[in-house]
Symmetry: C2
Subunit: 443 residues, 2 copies
């Protein structure tokens, strides 16, 4: 066995110190800590692809608006629990401008990051009907969302969409819904980690079945409009960000400031509740709270109990960013397109050195270049590949932790620096040479 | 019946429109909305005492630090889920400086306001031991904390401390604890709404019984050091803010930026977990999360799931305020002492016009002047008094909603303006004249 860029023994020793027996199950935080430790001990630079955090400066428009709000003394004033009126208005307008959907400003609710939006959504959906006590994940997905359900003691079911694209999605989805225990369906689009983008025909299936079985759809738009195959960034002009909202009346659109606006630090997002859902009464909610609609319970009971709203100044920031985007003065996608460009270059290097893309197409169309992509190596499991790449100074998380049944890794483009492409090329050339593919080895 | 400052019919009509049949149960938000509506329709100014929100400008030190952090680009960076190291360090130091208690910085965790701190505390305490499924409130208290338990589906019990001050607290408290179903005890000190301040002998009783029955104490210090009878504002010098931390090892101190620093808008606080509690393992937590201590579950599971941390810039603000307070450069109590001064003047007016203080002493010592006080009127119930005062342009909430068994109202000093003392005096004179006290009427 040849020498790897980083000594195998050193990596193994650090992994052992973290008491990780199965590297396929290592969390993002663990992989990050191991990579940082090995980097420090070896003096060898790591190409870090495990974290899904923005690597760009924050939107200047947001920062400026936030500073101005602070200078006006808003730090002492509790934000309106319904949300800053200006932000609610702009969120409603943003949805019209970039998704071509009408959601009243009333239902557009600021949250402490989409994480809080998802938590509040899971909680409220779970309380609508005691028979419907389970959330359904169209996976792969963001592992922490399942952790949220563990924290609140709710059940979930999940399937990997890999084998169920297009029309095949219908029967698979219905096999869960017809049992009658599903309160809500959640998926992200574009998808974390696979960067799969569901097509209109798939969204239509989800919407139709949700309506038929009276299930709420939670559409996680954390990577809003970041399908760079088309220009989704022109306000009030097609093409628009695809959405299930065209196909069902009961949904929540979870929009995050973290990735599209590089505003993760301030924990700000908006959860946008459809008009029909907002005003609907559910027996379970009436029983627990003595009244109220889905929307009023979501805001005045759940969000109020969770944190009494979210940072007042950050609400001004998001309002300003959304407004500028709607006015055509802030081309937010231009600032984040670099992720797509990085993905293109990184994929090219991996593919040239015998890797393959795990989730590689949307109904035949090559997958978009974006924030994440997924890679596999012939004949290697997720855990083997994740660990083996550590010897080559490349860190990424296994797909196992994301609800995927496929063998491979999630790679995130956000921390890649310009000088690292050459480094990756060199290291992956060595990797390929050291791991020759047998004719039969291709999985 | 004489004419009241505001037409009875108008007030009654607005109350009816809000569909409130029992004014004693009207929420803060309802009383606020009714007062605002009547004020608009009648053109008569209301003296608003229902809201418990800061009425002062935010701490300049906080605002400046927050703006500086934003200028340095922190808006794009996820805050460390453990909390900004500088804030953790200063919180630990602040507790030493003003409470004379040692809590490691590790256990001092930024939260999206103490509301999130309480939610996370309730949730984590409730998961430690399946037998202990109930939170005990030493009431009166902040009504929303019980709403938090309704949202998460947890049980609570409660008693009004009014008749159980001093040594009497022991038997009463033990009557609950000995049943074995209590996971945690919560109270606020100074108390919202009664402004009762528990004495050392009472805190000793709570601590000793908590230890004996292995119960966690949640000490809500939302009105930190605002017992203005003594100067609690000199760092590292007695007298200190009293605390149960001297009498038990398992506690969480909930410190809020909202009132002491007038920083409610940014939703920032610190929940400080005692060292012993932080490092303790509980079977219930191990079972649910596969491992971890109380502290690591509180941070990496619960707070992570709730919102992935709290506003990055607000953490810089709180760090700067705590540091300046510890350094003796920022006399935060000086800025909020005005609440005490307002309470003194308001109480004098009410007492002169035949009102009485409901919670009027701490083991014989007259209650402090602070953010809140409680008033009753001979022969009138909470609901009658709250409604009757609306005709005189004075809005306040009934004690019924706070878990108190006494008849009376909570009055908050935060929105009182200088010109309103004369107005109140005049209106309460009219009130007293219209409501003569019978010799037998004094309750």
């Amino acid at each position: 066995m040849k020498t790897t860029p980083i000594l195998r023994d050193l990596v193994d020793q650090v992994i052992n110190e973290f008491q990780i027996t199965d590297f396929a199950k290592a969390t993002i935080r663990e992989v990050k800590a191991i990579a940082a430790t090995v980097e420090k001990l070896s003096g060898m630079e790591f190409i870090k692809m495990e974290m899904g955090v923005p690597g760009l400066p924050p939107s200047a428009i947001g920062v400026e608006a936030e500073i101005q709000a602070l200078q006006h003394g808003i730090a002492s004033l509790y934000p309106d629990i319904n949300g800053l009126p200006e932000l609610k208005k702009e969120a409603s307008r943003f949805i019209k401008a970039f998704i071509n959907v009408d959601v009243s400003s009333e239902g557009c609710v600021p949250v402490t990051g989409s994480m809080q939006g998802t938590f509040a959504s899971f909680l409220t959906c779970s309380q609508c009907n005691p028979q419907k006590d389970t959330i359904l994940f169209i996976d792969p997905g963001f592992p922490v969302q399942k952790q949220q359900l563990v924290v609140m003691g709710q059940k979930y079911e999940t399937f990997d969409v890999y084998h169920y694209r297009g029309e095949k999605l219908r029967d698979k989805l219905e096999s869960y819904l017809k049992k009658g225990n599903i309160s809500a369906i959640i998926y992200s689009n574009p998808n974390n980690p696979s960067w799969v983008c569901l097509k209109e025909e798939e969204l239509r299936i989800i919407g139709a079945l949700a309506t038929q079985y009276d299930v709420i759809v939670l559409e996680d738009l954390a990577y809003f409009a970041m399908d760079f195959r088309q220009d989704l960034g022109k306000p009030f002009q097609p093409p628009y960000q695809p959405t299930v909202a065209h196909y069902t009346d009961y949904y929540i659109l979870l929009i995050s400031g973290s990735k599209a606006f590089s505003y993760a630090g301030q924990r700000i997002g908006v959860s946008c509740i459809s008009d029909r859902l907002y005003h609907r009464k559910y027996d379970g909610l009436t029983q627990r709270y003595g009244g109220g609609t889905f929307g009023s319970v979501f805001i005045h009971r759940v969000l109020y109990a969770l944190s009494s709203g979210t940072s007042h100044s950050a609400q001004y920031a998001l309002a300003a960013m959304l407004k500028a985007a709607c006015d055509g003065k802030y081309h937010f996608l231009d600032e984040v397109k670099v992720y797509g460009e990085r993905a293109r270059r990184l994929k090219e290097i991996f593919l040239r050195h015998d890797f393959y893309l795990v989730y590689d197409n949307d109904l035949g169309e090559p997958i978009a270049d974006g924030f994440y992509f997924t890679i596999g190596y012939p004949g290697m499991t997720s855990g083997e590949l994740a660990k083996e790449l550590m010897y080559y100074g490349v860190s990424a998380i296994s797909l196992v932790t994301t609800g995927s049944d496929q063998q491979g890794l999630r790679a995130c483009t956000s921390f890649i620096q310009d000088h690292q492409y050459a480094l990756l090329d060199e290291r992956m050339a060595a990797f390929a040479q050291e791991h020759p593919i047998q004719a039969s080895g291709k999985v």
